[in-house]
Symmetry: C2
Subunit: 417 residues, 2 copies
């Protein structure tokens, strides 16, 4: 039974390669179960919607082929924003403007796909709806490469970033091993406050390669003296040392290591190097070998050519379940994963109170970090491993992957509010 | 008919993802046609051989499955060296030592896979053999991501690096397009003297994305004023600008742009930023938008998870042909590609006098660079496009690609000389 109610979906925060998989899952479920009449999409999240930017997704993705292409497209198809929704006390007009729009367009459910800050938006909108008796359900769908949301076992987007990082580390180790000269390679990985992604570098280890030999997460203080000792000790037994380090490592006072030795540019401006470059500069005077640093950079979050099939299929599934929950009247909730078993790896989709998630950050628990704070534990590897399994079949054209037209965001024509 | 002659193969120079494909091709042809009795491999090239490091490849890769795994393994399986062979006048003992070894081990052909410097080794060894009446044939097999060898239409390894660069550029553009704020992204690509790889970024362009909007090669002088003008002009018509720049861009005096604005570290040492970071620092004070720089780094040459199937199959073929030429008595030659046609794309394998190649560098011809020196021509794209076609089927285990054990290089047991 097709209702006359409509829904709207927004995407927010930083890119992942799985965020469109959840978008695709919502659309799939809505279309196949006739949950809503029209599926709208906010362009550039809640901020774009406030500027009147939205579009009709139902017609854009009306075939499985189109949705499959969307599933494997990196970065937000709908565009993103980094917008902290003010409280209702600070700006009620924003809320009345949004809910007037929802009412005029028969929108009874808002799906918002994002991380911590986006769940804050879900919390605020749903609280407003409850307080003002608006019949609009607000459902959050998690998404972040950082894996730092509480309650959910892991986040969509994390497994794909982890797979890229593990593969890149393995390939970097092949690059390092070939010369008959000793070397130290420091690979810098994203995650300013949480070390989940840096830990995933351990999945690069094979029967022939122990790289990364050392892993440093931001959850424990980084001691530069102990770091130099770690490297010097290893240099005695290994020719090539590969080190994985989080961009967010901090000293015992909580200051970023990368802030400890700024460089001065030609204009006299102070500039921060990355953490890996800082460590490279630290090692060079005390080591007798080649030292280099590598930042994996934005490919960690946008390399859809190497997503995890497990991650993408779970992200589609969580989108589908979110659509069903929204249509069933749930609100102020975030969908999440519960790990049922590791062998075989199985998950359930759960619903959590979004107030428990918004603005909370889940760091790597200390029992997952090795005693000497320079590696992770086997239990942590067992947690991580299932998340990077499987390779999605991508379509290539002219030698590069076929993705959805994301440049549409720059075109006119989405100003209807 | 199995002969009692043996051959030896060495790999040298910088990593590519196709250099093991040529190794695999040589082994395949030798085994299937019984060209030699034993195939030896130098460990760490000619330098390692001089230290007595070599191994038996015939038994290591005696099945198609093992050779297929070798074909898709990044970086030199045999290890590499950066060793300039002295002239015979400077050090005859090196030559007598090598040719004594060849004679003792019934080695009648040496295959050397590498770039410019490696072809210098091929030239010197073959000249020595001729001058001293040694019946050892020396055959060079090209390999370099830089594509800077003359005579051959392109080099094994280039197409795979080009495919990774094009895909990464497309994914970086998806990463840039999602925000509703203007941005400039500068992507730095390898190639200090030749711009072939930087030009390959143009293959990222799709029907919806013109990125990279600007391309700067090292073949023409880089003018910072004109660069700022280029960016400012584009900023008026495009929200997000993606720029591809060679690490080797130089000013009109031939000085590297990256050397123009060194930074001073905490120890007072002068350090060079990369070209992209230098341009970022240049743009920041004069632009009103977010500016970032990204180095694609060593994944350009080692990302076997995204090789070009065309590149790998051609690299296997050139290895096979090299084996046949070596067994047929050719010497002082490098095998190469001749492009027969673009539609359909077909190549022939040719033999070239290695003296024409050693120490010569092939730069991008000026007619391939656009009039304003900030892009490449359609003819250049037509040249590049066929080289990145096709995706090899990789085997994955535990979520990462299965490659050959390259860490064997660090083990003992290869000292037989």
């Amino acid at each position: 039974m097709k209702t006359k109610n409509n829904c709207i979906i927004g995407q927010s925060g930083g890119p992942t390669t799985a965020i469109n998989a959840s978008l695709s899952g919502i659309i799939e479920e809505v279309l196949s179960s006739n949950l809503y009449h029209t599926i709208y999409g906010m362009v550039n999240g809640i901020e774009g919607l406030l500027q009147g930017k939205y579009l009709d997704l139902s017609s854009l993705f009306d075939t499985k082929e189109k949705r499959d292409k969307l599933t494997t497209t990196p970065s937000m198809f709908l565009g993103s924003c980094r917008f902290k929704l003010p409280t209702c006390e600070d700006s009620e007009s924003i809320y009345t403007s949004l809910f007037d729009f929802f009412e005029e367009n028969h929108i009874t459910t808002v799906f918002y796909i994002g991380g911590n800050d986006s769940m804050d938006t879900v919390l605020k909108l749903s609280s407003y709806a409850k307080a003002h008796d608006k019949s609009v359900n607000i459902i959050g769908i998690p998404k972040t490469i950082d894996n730092d949301l509480p309650i959910t076992d892991h986040t969509p987007g994390f497994g794909s970033a982890a797979k890229f990082i593990a593969t890149a580390l393995l390939e970097v180790s092949h690059d390092a091993y070939i010369y008959n000269i000793p070397s130290v390679t420091i690979v810098e990985i994203m995650g300013r406050n949480a070390g989940w992604l840096t830990a995933a570098s351990a999945l690069a280890r094979t029967s022939y390669s122990p790289a990364p030999d050392l892993i440093y997460l931001p959850e424990v203080p980084f001691n530069t003296d102990r770091f130099i000792e770690d490297v010097k000790r290893l240099r005695k037994i290994r020719k090539n040392i590969i080190i994985a380090v989080s961009e967010g490592i901090k000293d015992t006072n909580g200051h970023y290591i990368s802030a400890c030795s700024p460089v001065i540019d030609a204009f006299g401006h102070k500039q921060l190097c990355g953490a890996s470059k800082t460590l490279e500069n630290l090692l060079k005077p005390v080591l007798d070998c080649k030292t280099r640093s590598i930042e994996l950079n934005v490919l960690q979050r946008s390399a859809s050519h190497l997503s995890s099939a497990t991650d993408l299929s779970e992200a589609v599934l969580i989108g589908k379940k979110a659509a069903a929950f929204g249509a069933a009247g749930e609100t102020a909730k975030m969908v999440g994963y519960k790990r049922v078993s590791n062998t075989p790896y199985t998950i359930d989709i759960i619903l959590a109170d979004v107030a428990q998630i918004a603005n909370h950050e889940k760091k790597v628990p200390l029992h997952y970090i090795s005693e000497h704070h320079n590696d992770i534990t086997p239990e942590f590897i067992a947690y991580l491993r299932p998340l990077i399994q499987g390779e999605p079949q991508l379509v290539y054209e002219n030698g590069v992957p076929v993705y959805c037209d994301i440049a549409h965001l720059h075109k006119k024509g989405y100003f209807h509010l």
